[in-house]
Symmetry: C2
Subunit: 242 residues, 2 copies
């Protein structure tokens, strides 16, 4: 096996740092896990026993790799990591979609993936340019949700749109004409919620697509944080089914 490289977008594999994301990888996508790294400091922990049992069940190799783990972890402690093969999913043609247009912040992206999984949005479209969904920090912030979602990156919005023409679009925009509660009272089926970049939101052309939604808030702030807006939108549009 070749030595492990520091993470780069060009690699065909990445790392899921932390026991929780590692266990999620081994549970929900064991076929993608190449091996698991553990720290000598993890000896006899509950997390380690669980990881060992899962690896044994799937015949996945565990190795001690303190140096690779400390390189991965940055400021935070990291006692385990799954090395996994990157793989895009094909989105469902029926289920609700979360569409993220040019998301740029890795932490926000991870948080949105975790929220999506929690509220039953199993299909996520990323429109490039965007943060790297396989970056270890994103995988960690998602708490391993990446291993339970179907995620696909599109070079532009038109290619996503052409692939799923029957989804009714709900672009979330400060200038949206439909208050969220009104849109959520009777959501179209299937539907896709579309959120723009942290700093710039969605371009004005999205005002022409489907039902542009506004989350009402006071004028004392200029906008909500992206992961907050996406969470409120996902919750409200799905809450009858939760």
């Amino acid at each position: 096996m070749p030595p492990l490289a520091p993470y780069k977008r060009e690699l065909d594999y990445s790392y899921a740092p932390g026991f929780f994301p590692t266990i999620e990888a081994l549970t929900n996508a064991p076929e993608l896990v190449r091996r698991v790294l553990v720290s000598t400091q993890a000896a006899a922990s509950d997390g380690l026993s669980r990881v060992e049992a899962l690896c044994a069940g799937h015949h996945i190799r565990i190795e001690t790799a303190d140096k690779a783990l400390s390189r991965l972890s940055g400021k935070e402690n990291c006692f385990a990591a799954a090395v996994f093969t990157k793989k895009w999913g094909a989105l469902s043609a029926q289920g609700p979609h979360l569409v993220l247009h040019h998301p740029s912040d890795a932490g926000n992206l991870g948080t949105m993936l975790r929220t999506a999984l929690g509220f039953g949005y199993l299909d996520v479209a990323l429109i490039a340019p965007c943060a790297d969904v396989f970056q270890p920090h994103v995988v960690r912030a998602s708490m391993g949700a990446v291993f339970s979602l179907r995620i696909h990156e599109y070079p532009d919005f038109e290619q996503y749109r052409a692939s799923y023409p029957t989804h009714t679009l709900y672009p979330f925009m400060l200038k949206g004409s439909v208050p969220l509660a009104e849109a959520a009272a009777k959501p179209a089926s299937p539907f896709a919620l579309v959120f723009g970049n942290e700093g710039t939101g969605l371009p004005d052309e999205f005002l022409e697509y489907g039902h542009p939604v506004r989350i009402p808030h006071s004028h004392k702030i200029d906008s909500l944080n992206l992961s907050v807006a996406a969470a409120i939108g996902m919750y409200e549009m799905m809450k009858e089914q939760l």
Copy 2:
């Protein structure tokens, strides 16, 4: 004037890094601003003109301080900062309260303050131990919302409770008995939303307080991110008034 120190919790002043938070400080709490630092790289920017006009109107000194700003900014660029006096507020006895019990993550705390301001929660109680609300990173993540809110830190929950005994409590808990939509259908007045620590949530004793609320989500995640849960709770409990 004494030289500026690196930020510490013990100091009686802090820094609001960035043009947007600096403008919020000058607009909403000019009496707290001791002086404003700007970078030589900020010359002739729109932000600088706005800051200069506000400082002139309030007779606040502006000084060039590249070194102090680069120490403040860490990885991000920071071309301006307000130096401000820390001040706790007294919470309103009528309005809705946001109560944060042992929040530990600075970024989450800042995001929650911004969301609170956006949804009309102008009064925030922090229960120690908790992240330092005046830390520059929190001020920045709040986008300067700290300058428009009344915020008070209490040594324990009992002291908060004794100060505002008429607020009906809604503790948000995984084991909460009331689904959020039900609680939001007819909120008590006045009310307080209570959220626990990122890792541990609220202690079980909060199940005995008021109406313990649950945000329904799938079992595919173990919990929502704290700033996400708080945002959904604040939005849903206030949306009739937005």
